[in-house]
């Protein structure tokens, strides 16, 4: 299927916070109460629409355990967006965010958009991290923030789409150089506004700005 852009995402965060469930809800529109463990990395993809453009998302869902960090790190490079997930009912998953963030910033390109996701907001009675705390952390570290429920399909769509809209803005502003695949963005073959754009790729303009 043709698309205007391809964005690469990575989902990171402690084990058991619901990374695979978020992905499954986003790609398959279903929830599996007990999801299989993720060993290493799993893959998912979906097409979304951003400002009338077809955008293909390739999503790498990583294993949360520390042991796998050396493998998952290689997926930071070449990702345009990251969903950093914690579990609002387990405070330690919130405490570990700083480490995750350091790791992500060190191994990714500087233009990567990071969305902080507080998952399992359906379990409000067992909440251990308040919405305000999550929001504050996000503001301090310049992240976008949402609370989600993979179970009830709350804000899941929004988490992936919001990130894509910001990546799209960064492309339009020339912050992301789309000719460099390491930035996690690839220009597709879909005709955007007019077909002759293919002759003069949309990439030329942002590139100029970026370099100038």
């Amino acid at each position: 299927m043709s698309y205007s852009y391809l964005f690469k995402y990575i989902i990171i965060g402690d084990t058991g916070v619901g990374k695979s469930c978020l992905l499954l809800q986003f790609t398959d529109k279903r929830f599996q109460p007990v999801h299989d463990l993720t060993i290493g990395v799993e893959f998912g993809a979906r097409m979304i629409n951003i400002d009338g453009k077809q955008v293909k998302l390739q999503i790498w869902d990583t294993a949360g355990q520390e042991s796998f960090r050396s493998i998952t790190r290689s997926y930071y490079r070449g990702a345009a967006g990251a969903l950093l997930v914690y579990d609002i009912t387990r405070r330690e998953t919130f405490h570990h965010l700083t480490t995750w963030l350091e790791d992500a910033r060190r191994h990714s390109n500087s233009t990567m958009t990071i969305m902080l996701v507080g998952n399992k907001c359906d379990l409000d009675s067992r909440r251990a991290v308040s919405y305000e705390e999550g929001k504050k952390f996000a503001q301090q570290h310049d992240l976008i923030f949402l609370e989600t429920s993979a179970k009830n399909d709350e804000n899941v769509e929004e988490a992936f789409n919001y990130t894509a809209r910001i990546i799209n803005e960064k492309i339009e502003k020339g912050i992301i150089d789309v000719t460099n695949e390491m930035n996690g963005v690839k220009v597709g073959n879909a005709p955007t506004a007019t077909t002759n754009l293919l002759e003069k790729p949309t990439t030329s303009e942002p590139k100029g700005k970026c370099c100038g």
Binding site: H35, D36, I39
Partner: protein, 336 residues
């Protein structure tokens, strides 16, 4: 007898005995040691790494074979032994601790044997120095020191070079060959995988690509050349758990039968066999479909009720059968 089992798998009632016998007990684990380890699991740990990995076990148990009731908390009959074995292992080897993926292997063992046997088998599966069951190679290889350690690639390269010089006579072998030979063939792969030794894993990935190129040029072209499929993702999942997460339990048991007789050769045959068995799906799929398919193989095998086990094993055991000589040839290709 072996030949027949190789073809059809070990008959279920004999399987437990065969697995225990083939794995042996090089580590000399005793019931006494197991009791001591069990006691230790009740004491609080001082090591941070161990602590967090032990907490993880309870979280992960319910996520291992979620469809199988007998592993589930609190009523599943296998729940307690399952948990105990993993906790004891992380006390036995606190330097490695519990790593996700181990639970699938312990579960597979528990389906065929009791708790203590499963613990002995699990530890020996991971740490035995001889994982290559080819009798000739086994008698010659002996026990290369430190071959199970994560730094094996370099530390026992000299041991491997002695072995290969015995095996292959005067023909000159490069240092790279002997190191690759060790990494890809004679060493036990589990600990380098569980400790995420990236050099070791990268070599395995590269080797699997060569195998695919030599076995099925068309699949190789489509997956590697055209789509640039990341084999690392698949190899980690399949090799780390010895296929136990990705395939139906009866298929897994037969793969383990073959692995315990033939060692790492069989792991490679299975990898090729699975890819070739699904060649029709793979050849017609784009990058996204291929990656999804291969990282969710259990979903695929569950969905296609039509999984033809006999056909799959016929491909694995006949078309993808590997000999010592072929392995050597392919390892030599690694240098190019």
């Amino acid at each position: 007898m072996y030949k027949k089992w190789y073809k059809n798998g070990i008959p279920s009632p004999l399987r437990s005995k065969m697995w225990v016998a083939s794995l042996g007990n090089e580590l000399q684990i005793t019931p006494g040691l197991y009791e001591i380890l069990k006691d230790k699991t009740n004491q609080p740990s001082t090591m941070e790494r161990q602590c967090s990995s032990i907490d993880l076990i309870s979280v992960d148990l319910s996520r291992t074979f979620p469809a199988l009731q007998f592993f589930q908390y609190p009523d599943g009959p296998y729940y307690q032994p399952f948990k105990t074995i993993l906790e004891c292992y992380s006390k036995f080897r606190p330097d490695i601790g519990y790593v996700q993926g181990m639970s699938y292997m312990v579960a597979t063992l528990l389906l065929y044997m009791d708790e203590y046997d499963a613990f002995v088998c699990f530890c020996n599966l991971l740490h035995r120095s001889k994982c290559n069951s080819n009798p000739l190679a086994m008698s010659l290889v002996g026990t290369p020191a430190g071959s199970a350690s994560s730094s094996a690639t370099t530390s026992s390269a000299s041991a491997a070079s002695v072995v290969s010089s015995i095996l292959f006579g005067p023909k000159k072998r490069t240092a790279e060959f002997t190191s690759n030979y060790h990494t890809l063939y004679t060493s036990n792969h589990f600990i380098p995988f569980f400790t995420m030794n990236t050099d070791y894993i990268d070599k395995n990935v590269k080797f699997v690509r060569i195998l695919l190129r030599e076995h099925h040029a068309q699949l190789y072209k489509h997956l590697v050349v055209d789509l640039g499929v990341e084999f690392a993702v698949i190899i980690i999942d399949w090799f780390l758990t010895l296929f136990s997460k990705s395939l139906p339990l009866d298929v897994v048991a037969r793969i383990w039968d073959g692995y315990l007789v033939h060692g790492r050769l069989y792991m490679y045959s299975c990898t090729m066999g699975i890819l070739i068995y699904y060649q029709k799906e793979l050849l017609s799929a784009d990058y996204e479909r291929v990656m999804y398919f291969l990282t969710h193989l259990s979903t695929a095998t569950n969905q296609f009720e039509t999984l033809d086990v006999e056909e799959m094993f016929s491909i694995i055991n006949t078309d993808c059968r590997l000999s010592e000589r072929r392995i050597n040839k392919y390892i030599r290709m690694m240098e190019k």
